[in-house]
């Protein structure tokens, strides 16, 4: 065992510079268990760590480290502090923030987890960390034909990258099927059914890293929305109109050569296994006036099921999507205003709506949410649980004179976990609601007045 650890240290020396963390040495991880779920193209990793303060001063925070290949694909990191024993477990969400470390080895990225209360010397705390990786399954072979199934690589480390000393750790990797072409074996490692187990490993120095590659079959739909623009238009006349522009692509292994309709329709199970046709969007419960179309017209293959808690829109793009194929489309719907617009205690109004993409199990590379406030709204401000780029625009819609303020929220790398409510606060005087009807009425009035005037005016030069 000692010899093996020696090898690991060599590994570390090769991959990373020698760590020199002063504060890091105050904490150590007593036990860590990581479960990586590779069953879809969104990689979810659940990390349970038991942290102990071995220093003299209380520690207020700890660091989570990610290798540079993962940090750019990291969609979300959440941490919960677990208190209590088995049945009476309570979870307290902790604040997680990306942070820069001046002496980070090899561009390692860090997240700082702040404890609820500082961890005293000798105390331990159990944390549950969830992090989600996108675009982390690399198809190999890069191009496949219609009859082949899709094989992908997953790169990670067998041991958890951490700036702290890790006493004991285990990693479980779950693959979507039992077909695993190969995996890097770091003893003790074994595979049983859909699960590969790495570990338990003992006593790893800080910043240890042991690259592993898993090559396995994954035919789950690699639905990647390259760009999604959601426009939420508030009308104080009673509805919320949502228009979503999708640029969808199949992000898996590229399709090569022939597409055969005969094979596709008669041998569906083996032909085009990695392609997908149906998609599911989860929409708000009281949704109405749903439409599904694209640049050249309506697409007739969709079904809507409305329910009490949610509505489901099942739809198909015009053609099945094979690797690398694209489809753009628009989904639009309307929801009643009273479910989503409220008045705050200070008299301001706020919209409370879901942020992310309604499609299940999809990655959105670039999400733009535009909240179109009614004409005459002032002082907009958005409140979100995570950082996004914010901007203001002006949009002209029906019968607008000064234009509507648009709050633009933009975020990259969005996964279904981002489907959390966000709020947009603004001030609005109800009198502005009457501007448009008044304009219409006055327009008609002027038409009638003009007609009256025309009838009564004699434009003839010569009197008849």
């Amino acid at each position: 065992m000692a010899a093996r650890i020696g090898i690991f240290i060599v590994f570390v020396a090769v991959f990373l510079s020698i760590p020199a963390f002063s504060s890091a040495q105050d904490l150590q991880i007593v036990n860590a268990e990581r479960r990586i779920d590779l069953s879809s193209h969104i990689v979810k990793a659940f990390l349970t760590v038991k942290v102990e303060n071995i220093g003299k001063d209380p520690a207020a925070e700890m660091l989570l480290a990610f290798p540079p290949t993962q940090i750019k694909n990291l969609a979300m990191v959440q941490a919960l502090a677990v208190t209590g024993k088995k049945k009476k477990k309570t979870y307290v969400p902790l604040d997680v923030k990306p942070t820069e470390q001046p002496d980070a080895p090899n561009d390692t990225g860090y997240f700082r987890v702040s404890f609820v209360s500082p961890l005293g010397p000798g105390e331990t705390i159990t944390l549950e960390v969830l992090y989600i990786l996108t675009h982390s399954l690399e198809p190999f072979p890069v191009e496949i034909t219609q009859s082949e199934s899709q094989l992908v690589y997953y790169h990670d480390s067998a041991v958890i990258l951490s700036p702290y000393h890790v006493k004991q750790q285990t990693t479980f990797v779950k693959t979507p099927s039992t077909r695993v072409e190969s995996f890097t074996s770091i003893e003790p490692a074994n595979r049983a059914g859909k699960e590969i187990k790495y570990g338990p490993y003992k006593n790893h120095a800080p910043n240890s890293y042991t690259p592993v590659i898993i090559h396995f079959e994954n035919n789950s739909p690699f639905a990647v929305v390259e760009e999604l623009e959601r426009e939420i238009e508030i009308s104080h006349w009673g509805s919320l109109q949502i228009t979503e522009h999708y640029k969808l692509t199949h992000g898996g292994a590229r399709h090569k050569g022939v597409f055969s309709r005969v094979d596709y329709q008669s041998r569906r199970s083996v032909s085009g296994a990695s392609s997908f046709n149906g998609l599911l969007a989860v929409l708000p419960p009281r949704v109405n006036s749903v439409y599904y179309r694209d640049d050249i017209g309506n697409i007739s293959t969709s079904h809507l099921r409305t329910g009490f808690r949610k509505s489901e829109l099942e739809f198909e793009p015009r053609y099945p999507l094979f690797g690398g194929w694209r489809a753009t489309f628009i989904i639009g719907y309307r929801v009643p205003l009273e479910d989503y617009l409220f008045e705050a205690s200070d008299g301001r109004r706020y919209l409370n709506f879901t942020f992310g993409c309604p499609l299940v199990e999809t990655i959105v590379n670039k999400l733009t949410v535009k909240v179109v406030l009614p004409e005459g709204s002032k002082d907009p401000s958005a409140v979100l649980p995570f950082t996004v780029n914010q901007d203001l625009q002006v949009k002209y819609s029906y019968l607008d004179i000064v234009g509507r303020t648009v709050v633009v929220l933009q975020k990259d790398n969005v996964v279904p976990t981002h489907n959390v409510p966000f709020q947009v606060y603004y001030t609005f005087k109800p009198i502005y609601m009457l501007a448009e009807p008044f304009m219409l009425v006055s327009a008609f009035f002027f038409v009638f007045v003009a007609t009256l005037a025309y009838v009564h005016i004699d434009l003839n030069i010569v009197r008849k």
Partner: protein
């Protein structure tokens, strides 16, 4: 016009009267609200016209309700694409647009080869709506342009009817034209084609011209010239105007109806109309050089000779002298004209008539000489049934209307009779020209209906009034009523009149029912989306065209060149956004023939042709799985004919067996191995299409195909839509020979 002014005056008088009444006492105010007969009539007329206006619009919305707000058929897609370009890039860019996406590798100068009227109209509507803060999509504007102009046409029909007969005929004409299937066929929502605005422009020009002839007013003639300009900018059918109007003038001259009014109307309309028309780049100098426009110029010169002779006659004041002068002038004028025409034609300055024009005068011309014109279904001679289908009772009312017109011959009725007869002839030559005849047929039928109903009702009224007042003065001054009063002694006259009136109303209601039925069943299908009834009566939608076009748009390289038969060219460029080899413009017969040749050759030969044209994808339409009959196999003989017309290697008999076109085992070997056959039936032999039938059973033609083992060497299947209607093949790059 006079009547209108009168009515407005009386209306204003009435309002001035009511004002003091209202002030004085409220008891009288109710009484004063009662309108005079004339005002009542005006109110009824205006409300009928308003309702007809709305009716004409909503009757055309079946397709939007049944399917969706979308552009129909083939040519409208080109118009839509150009309109989109116009609204995005502006007018100058549009005018100078060189389109490299069509007719690869030739390209097309769009600005110089289209009639911009429709696009500019739609763009103006769009910009106006935008200015008024109605942020509509340009597609909605394009879809609703045709119904909107159909509504406007009903108004023009009303004024035209009023001009040639009376307001009653005008109203009936407006109602008839609002729902006439012959017009609806080309103006349903989504049928965004030149004809949509052109019929409006045509009728407006005619109306204004007749008005100008009737009044001799320069203003109306000017209006007519501008109407003509709009028509020229919108549709190639303007040639009909520029030939009908001179013909009409000629007839008036011959029948001795020459007048100063006619002189003013025609000269103003012709000169200004010509100058304006020449501003349209597609027409340009053709207006003074081509054979189709020579008639108008000839009549214009003749008009001057007439005027000159009139003047000389007045100056000479001597009949004998004048007649010698007349002889000399006429002979020399004819000689000079003949020589000028001869020299012009011989030197090529005056171009001869085009093939389309010939095919109008001689229905058999196209069949023998220009297969590309003959191959279009809407250029076929009209069948009797389609006359019945499109006109219904108008077909019987038309002769009756002619009778009334001849009975009351005026300059205006002569015009409408000539318009009706000539356009009806053209409608017989080409199916699509039923559209041009429709307004005339509606107007003449309206005269018949209006005159009949008027006679009958006045007959009823006079009989009622006789015992009351004893005089018939108040019953109206029409001839019919005075006649009726004379032979009052005829028995059962009243009952007969009532029966006849009921008959007329029955006929008209049948007409309304027929029109609605035809519109909803026959003319409201977008032909991009196909609908069928399933086994359980449910509606099945085949959206394969758009599936394929969208696939092309999203999943092929942006510079890919698509080869298909020319029918689908406009749709591929508009919906697929890809370059095509040939499209529906059909200006270059050789290019189309090259594609026809490729489709009818063996794969190796076709491969060389496709390589020389840089083709990346080949698209074919195939209805064998769904039973969709207007597919490429059924169009195939035209490809052979058009290809063979330019390249004699392609011979039609090679594809036929005993003069019969077959695709089953008995088909000719050339047919079974040509590119089109291979592409349509590739791997079709493995498929069971219908229960109880062998594999490879073609449902469109009802046979089992003859070649089930098709191997492709130079092409590979790139995409086939879910119902197999569109099949796309990728042309493989040449293999490396090492």
């Amino acid at each position: 016009m006079g009547g209108k002014q009168d009515s407005t005056k009386s209306e204003s008088m009435a309002t001035t009267k009511t004002a003091p009444d209202l002030l004085n006492s409220s008891i009288f105010s109710f009484k004063s609200l009662k309108l005079k007969t004339k005002q009542q009539e005006l109110l009824i007329r205006v409300s009928i016209l308003g309702l007809v206006y709305v009716l004409a619009f909503i009757a055309r919305l079946f397709s939007v309700l049944r399917y969706e707000s979308m552009i129909h058929e083939f040519d409208p897609y080109f118009n839509y694409r150009t309109t989109l370009f116009l609204t995005e890039k502006g007018f100058y860019e549009f005018w100078n647009w060189f389109d490299s996406e069509s007719w690869y590798p030739l390209g097309r100068i769009i600005g110089g080869t289209l009639y911009p009227g429709l696009m500019v109209t739609a763009a103006l509507i769009y910009w106006t709506l935008r200015f008024l803060r109605f942020f509509v999509h340009i597609r909605e504007v394009c879809v609703l342009t045709a119904p909107f102009f159909a509504s406007n046409t009903t108004l023009v029909a009303y004024f035209f009817g009023k001009e040639i007969w009376d307001t009653g005929a005008g109203l009936v004409a407006a109602v008839l034209i609002a729902i006439c299937p012959g017009y609806i066929s080309r103006s349903v929502a989504g049928s965004y084609d030149n004809e949509a605005v052109a019929i409006f422009a045509l009728l407006l020009t005619f109306y204004l011209f007749v008005k100008a002839v009737n009044t001799g007013s320069l203003a109306w003639a000017l209006g007519s010239a501008f109407g003509y300009f709009y028509m020229v900018s919108a549709w190639g059918g303007y040639v009909f105007i520029i030939n009908l109007v001179p013909l009409y003038v000629l007839v008036l001259l011959i029948t001795g109806r020459y007048s100063m009014r006619l002189y003013i109307a025609y000269n103003c309309m012709y000169i200004l109309g010509m100058l304006l028309a020449m501003q349209i780049r597609f027409v340009g100098f053709q207006h003074v050089q081509s054979g189709e426009h020579m008639g108008a110029m000839g009549v214009f010169l003749l008009m001057q000779v007439f005027y000159f002779l009139d003047w000389v006659k007045y100056q000479l004041n001597d009949i004998k002298l004048f007649q010698t002068f007349l002889r000399i002038t006429v002979t020399s004028a004819i000689l000079v004209g003949g020589v000028a025409l001869g020299v012009g034609t011989a030197s090529g300055y005056i171009s001869p008539w085009t093939g389309r024009f010939y095919s109008l005068l001689d229905p058999t011309y196209a069949k023998d000489h220009i297969p590309i014109i003959a191959s279009v279904s809407e250029h076929q001679p009209t069948a009797w049934s389609s006359f019945m289908f499109d006109y219904h009772i108008l077909l019987f009312l038309f002769p009756a209307g002619l009778y009334f017109c001849f009975k009351r011959l005026t300059d205006a009725t002569i015009f409408i009779v000539m318009y009706g007869l000539t356009s009806l002839y053209f409608a017989g030559v080409m199916v699509r020209l039923i559209l041009v005849a429709t307004p005339a047929v509606c107007l003449i039928s309206a005269i018949a209906v209006s005159a009949t109903v008027k006679n009958l009702t006045s007959l009823l009224r006079t009989k009622q009034k006789v015992p009351q007042s004893g005089s018939t003065k108040g019953a109206g001054s029409s001839k019919a009523s005075s006649k009726v009063t004379l032979d009052q002694s005829q028995p059962f006259q009243k009952n007969g009149a009532i029966a006849l009136l009921l008959g007329v109303f029955y006929l008209l209601s049948r007409y309304a029912i027929h029109c609605t039925w035809v519109t909803s069943e026959a003319y409201s299908s977008p032909s991009i989306v196909l609908a069928a009834r399933g086994a359980h009566g449910n509606r099945i939608i085949f959206d394969d065209y758009r599936e394929a076009y969208y696939w092309l748009r999203q999943n092929t390289p942006t510079d890919a060149k698509i080869m298909s038969w020319w029918d689908y060219g406009y749709q591929i460029t508009a919906m697929g956004n890809r370059t095509v080899i040939v499209d529906n413009n059909t200006w270059n017969n050789t290019h189309i023939a090259t594609v026809g040749r490729a489709m009818s050759s063996y794969e190796d030969e076709a491969y060389d042709i496709m390589r020389s044209l840089d083709v990346n994808y080949v698209l074919v339409v195939f209805g064998g799985v769904t039973g969709y009959s207007s597919d490429d196999i059924n169009k195939f003989l035209w490809m052979v004919r058009i290809g063979g017309g330019v390249f004699p290697v392609i011979k039609e008999p090679d594809y036929l067996v005993n003069g019969e076109f077959r695709v089953d085992k008995g088909a000719s070997p050339k047919m079974l191995n040509c590119l089109m056959y291979k592409l349509c039936y590739y791997r079709f032999g493995e498929l069971t299409t219908e229960y109880g039938k062998p594999t490879g059973y073609d449902r469109a033609r009802g046979v089992e195909i003859g070649n089930k083992d098709i191997k492709l060497e130079h092409l590979e299947e790139a995409y086939t839509t879910s119902n197999w209607i569109v099949r796309i093949y990728r042309v493989k790059p040449p293999t490396n020979r090492l």
